[in-house]
């Protein structure tokens, strides 16, 4: 109750995320339906006790398919953000700590990556590599890593001059030890905030690319593809697109609220916010 008053964003966002993840993970056991089983006599059914979200154009249970979509979206978002965090953190630590020509060179590369509109860069990479889950993750990570590199570099630059880092250097700690033991802990807070907000962005980007047909390929019922597919029946049966879009929005809202709430605890000075870019 105290948390509700002090930081409602954190609580509401966290609850939404927990629900979506539970929905994705436990659905195969909870739902009596199979993702692919069709029932042509029961197409576009309205929500009922038997089908909580109704059925799609082939009479498949929409609840089950949305859960499968949740699993795909969350997995792809988490994988791409994880790769981006890993690469970005290493790049940021090294450039911020050592400075010099490495810093200069790598930061110009970062600038060039930032010179592309985010979705456009992802589309370009998919154009070359082809669609599919793995390429989708790679292309999103290629868009996202620059944010983490910049944040981590900024924090590292500031930490390099702090007394206890100088002290560690004076007692002969190795560079690796200083980076991991002294500097990395300061980086974690802003990175977690940024990554939480980044998961929301990744889900929007992933479903946008799936919407265009460049995401995980059908028959996987991604949210973006279901939404796009639903537009074929927009005049008569708009339900399909509405549900899929709602699923995306609620999930993204969850990550955004949770990230906003986390910031108060982990990144009070707002390092993450200054560098955060929105994709869509």
């Amino acid at each position: 109750m105290r948390l509700m008053r002090e930081n409602p964003s954190l609580l509401i966002g966290g609850s939404i995320i927990a629900t979506v993840v539970a929905f994705a993970v436990f659905s195969p056991w909870l739902s009596p339906y199979d993702v692919e089983t069709m029932n042509m006599t029961n197409r576009f059914a309205w929500p009922s006790a038997a089908h909580w979200l109704g059925t799609d154009n082939f009479g498949r249970d929409l609840w089950t398919r949305m859960a499968e979509g949740a699993r795909v979206s969350v997995l792809i978002a988490v994988s791409s953000v994880a790769i981006a965090v890993f690469v970005g953190t290493i790049v940021g630590l090294v450039t911020g700590y050592f400075g010099g020509w490495i810093d200069l060179l790598v930061m110009r590369v970062v600038d060039v990556f930032l010179g592309f509109p985010p979705i456009i860069l992802a589309l370009a990479i998919i154009a070359a590599l082809g669609p599919g889950a793995q390429n989708l993750v790679l292309s999103l990570a290629a868009v996202f890593w620059t944010e983490y590199a910049r944040v981590v570099r900024a924090v590292t630059l500031a930490q390099r001059e702090v007394d206890y880092v100088a002290a560690a250097r004076a007692i002969g700690s190795s560079h690796a030890r200083i980076l991991i033991v002294e500097i990395l802990p300061n980086v974690i807070g802003p990175v977690i905030v940024l990554a939480t907000l980044g998961l929301g962005t990744a889900i929007i980007a992933e479903s946008g690319l799936s919407f265009l047909g460049f995401g995980v390929e059908p028959p996987t019922p991604t949210w973006g593809w279901t939404l796009s597919f639903g537009t074929r029946y927009l005049r008569t049966e708009p339900w399909l697109s509405i549900v899929a879009g709602l699923a995306i929005m609620i999930t993204v809202l969850g990550f955004n609220l949770f990230g906003d709430g986390l910031r108060d605890y982990l990144d009070p000075r707002g390092v993450a916010r200054k560098v955060k870019r929105d994709v869509s």
């Binding site: 010179g115 509109p117 979705i119 370009a124 899929a244």
Partner: protein, 347 residues
């Protein structure tokens, strides 16, 4: 660089010095633009190198005839090393040659030239909507902080930030085209500039057509950025309004609205302007989605067709065009910075 020191009482020297530093900043910013563009061209060129396996087979498919494969290898210069091709790519671009589309029998530059206007029109109008709506909502929320206005504006912003642009577009289409039948669901009217020209001569039909087609796509594309901007405006306004010079302005007995709009907003404008530059990148990405929902005949529609066919030269041209538009808007924004910010930053 240390801040310039003005000798006491030298009222004349100050403005001159300032225009000099402005000039220096502008020159430096323009000088940075060139290597930036070069970097963008190199990455764009690199798309071709990412192709897995034999590019000629990837592009034309497994069952392409040997003659066709030879032809495309020569056309794309695949038989030459990559650095020779990169140099040739640069040389071509300088002459306005972006190569030839593989599947649309025309030069890439022509295919892009025919569509870039539609995308710019859409993106710039969406940007205008985002700025006007975002600043209005943000200022209102800051002015009436803690009231229903604030809550409503920030609820809109939170939803707007979380709402995927393609879903918003479909909801709008459902409401305004399918249910109400007020607006056409797809296509573009006459180009806005031409329609405005016609309106100037007293023919308002084209303008009406242009606007009715533009309304939904532009609003769809702009709303998300409006939400982002309104949140930023609110927080910077609140920060600015708590500062000493605002108290002074109030103490001087100035009208409250004047203090807020002239003193407050003007000083809150800097972060807003810089975020607008970044938003344009998101807008261009969103344009790809928006164009494909509303059948808007711009670069985004062309991009999806090109990617589906793996028409890499065309994809490269489109990606490059998007990046150039983004870079140009950011350049303009950075230069605007020097006009708005009285304290110029020179690092």
């Amino acid at each position: 660089m240390s801040p310039p020191v003005y000798p006491a009482g030298s009222l004349v020297a100050k403005p001159r010095l300032r225009s000099n530093t402005m000039l220096a900043y502008t020159a430096r910013r323009l000088a940075l633009f060139v290597p930036m563009i070069a970097g963008i061209v190199i990455v764009t060129f690199g798309i071709m190198l990412l192709l897995p396996g034999d590019p000629a087979i990837v592009l034309l498919g497994e069952d392409a005839s040997p003659e066709a494969l030879v032809e495309i290898r020569t056309a794309l210069g695949l038989d030459r090393p990559w650095y020779v091709r990169l140099a040739a790519y640069f040389a071509g671009l300088i002459q306005g040659d972006m190569g030839r589309s593989i599947f649309q029998n025309q030069p890439v530059a022509d295919a892009i030239g025919a569509r870039v206007g539609a995308t710019l029109e859409l993106a710039l109008l969406a940007l205008a909507i985002a700025i006007v709506l975002g600043i209005t909502l943000g200022v209102a929320a800051a002015l009436w902080r803690g009231t229903l206005v604030d809550t409503a504006a920030m609820l809109f912003a939170q939803l707007g930030v979380s709402m995927p642009v393609f879903w918003l577009g479909i909801l709008m289409m459902l409401l305004f085209a399918v249910k109400l039948g007020w607006l056409p669901s797809i296509g573009r009217g006459e180009p806005l500039v031409e329609a405005l020209g016609a309106a100037a001569t007293g023919r308002f039909g084209p303008l009406l057509g242009a606007i009715s087609h533009l309304a939904m796509p532009a609003l769809t594309l702009g709303l998300n950025s409006a939400a982002v901007i309104s949140r930023l405006v609110r927080s910077t306004m609140l920060e600015t309004l708590s500062q000493d010079f605002i108290r002074t302005a109030h103490a001087k007995g100035l009208q409250v609205t004047r203090v807020i709009l002239v003193h407050g907003l003007r000083n809150a404008l800097l972060p807003i302007v810089s975020v607008i530059g970044l938003r344009f990148g998101a807008l261009l990405g969103g344009a790809v989605l928006t164009e494909n929902i509303f059948g808007w005949p711009g670069l985004g529609q062309l991009a999806v067709a090109a990617i589906s066919q793996r028409d890499i030269p065309l994809v490269q041209g489109i990606v490059l065009s998007f990046a150039l538009m983004f870079a140009t808007v950011n350049l303009i924004v950075d230069l605007l910075y020097t006009v708005i910010d009285p304290r110029i930053r020179l690092e």
